[in-house]
Amino acid sequence: MNATQSATAHDVVIGLEVHVQLATQSKLFCSCATRFGAPPNTLTCPLCIGMPGTLPVMNRHAFELALQTAVSLDCQIAPFTKWDRKNYYYPDLPKGYQISQYDLPFSHDGHLDTYDPKGNLPVRRVGIIRVHLEEDAGKSMHDEAAGKSDSLIDLNRTGTPLLEIVTEPDMRSPAEAKAFLTELKLLLTYLGVSDCNMQEGSLRVDANINLHVPRNGETIATPIVEVKNMNSFRAVERALEYEAGRQWEEWQATGQKMGDVPKQTRGWDDAANLTRPQRHKEESSDYRYFPDPDLVPVVVSPEEIEVITKSLGELPAALRSRLESEYGLSAYDSDVLVNQGRSLASYFVQVAEACGNGKLASNWIQQDILRLLKERQETIDDFPVSAAALADLLRKVDQGELDTSKGRDVLGGMIDSGQPAEDVMLELGIAAVDESELTALCEQLLVENERIVADVQAGKVQAIGALIGQAKKRNPNVNPGRVREICLQLISKRA
């Protein structure tokens, strides 16, 4: 982003802390709904309000979703896990402590590989230090009416199940951080464990970033800065680009190394395109964690992990490479399809299997089906043309019975009528032209157009276009591509 940075060799070192709200119906420790956007303080109960006498009981589904996520991140699942209290005072934390996990998180030591279909970024294996389950806090906002002298507290979000995913500092550029987040979001979407909506706060990212500067054969680490308040993946990338540049300038100006100054927290200001230091909460590090006596530990058996592993289905990375190896798709195409989600990818697989041409299926799905879904504002699950019906149509295209443009017309008819390709073709008067009939027509044309034949034989292959035009006049149903192929074949036989 600036000349000095690119001119001098140093590593940008990034680790991420991602919070993901789990897609449960009810909260982690009580039966209030987790719905987003309800009027303030309408989704709370005595437990959410932290009233004395209330006790938490763990939501089984939340724990299952957490396990699924950890297993799919190749984490080790702890055979014994417990719940700890993290004590601090904040008005959106009614109990005065957050129920979280401290020294025995339910999972640890996993990884996720980044992916760049364009191949511009290296594949980076990002270590996952731990994934743990905790409860979300409520929300506080300034009371504008009171001239910001007051804050208003809404506890609807209190107790929503939250996964904290902490990575190793393995990313070496803001772009890699973004690629990691994109891949993580794709994985979580495939698992269905979260809707990952950053606008609604169901996915939140904080980043730790510093520089590793080589000097005299040693590597010097600069102070780590935690960056918060990034509301999109693009914002993460921009904030980290800014911060990497800022840290480089600071390093050159101060020469401060890690440990010289306390860890700083900075907030990203998207409009101003810069990070600003955030106020330090005093004594913030003394959370006085201890095991929550109101909750009992969880023991997970290898058999349970086995069941979870089997239930996961094919995950994005595996699916992408299968699409490439089994259906001959390019990295780019497989990535586009996989990114559309599990349903569409599986639609593709069914079409490709049934029509026998993966590349053709991929082209049609990317060019036509995705456009139609967008126009019709529906998902593949509601799309009126089944995978088998589309495969049927594509087989005809593949065998030359239909050209692309006619195929599109037929697809349109199939959507409107719900009929199979065969019936729509009849209705539209598109009859398949018999191969022998077509060969006879081509032979006739060659006899009638000796001059064109000579031109082609002399190397002017484009002259064949005139023959195609004549063929279409005589029979509008002929496939121009096929006419071209047959004519060229016949001409080469003559020679």
């Binding site: 709904a33 763990m58 208003l152 507290i153 004594e283 009992v296």
Partner: protein
């Protein structure tokens, strides 16, 4: 090992308790006595002993992911020292 006034002041801040100077004095000396007494635990050999955080050691207690009605907002806010019928109100939380 008795406690210093400074240490007790720090603990009071962590515990969010405003103490008068007199309270600070008496708590410092009382806490010091109690801490000296509980210090005896360090003499117990606990090598290899698993900590026992619960009186009855159970595990895997869950509830089903089912939604039940929440409190009507009026009832939720009924005990709040200050509210505006929609939100709890507190002195400003410092800027995020």
């Amino acid at each position: 090992m008795s406690l210093s006034r400074e240490a007790v002041t720090k603990v009071a801040l962590l515990a969010r308790l405003e103490l008068t100077p007199e309270e600070l004095d008496s708590i410092t000396s009382q806490l010091g006595q109690i801490v000296d007494y509980v210090q005896q635990l360090s003499s117990v050999d606990t090598e290899g002993v698993e900590p026992m955080a619960h009186a009855m050691e159970q595990h895997n207690v869950f509830r089903a992911d089912e939604v039940r009605p929440s409190l009507p907002r009026e009832e939720a806010l009924a005990n709040a020292p200050r509210h505006n019928d929609e939100y709890y109100r507190v002195p400003a939380v410092l800027g995020d």
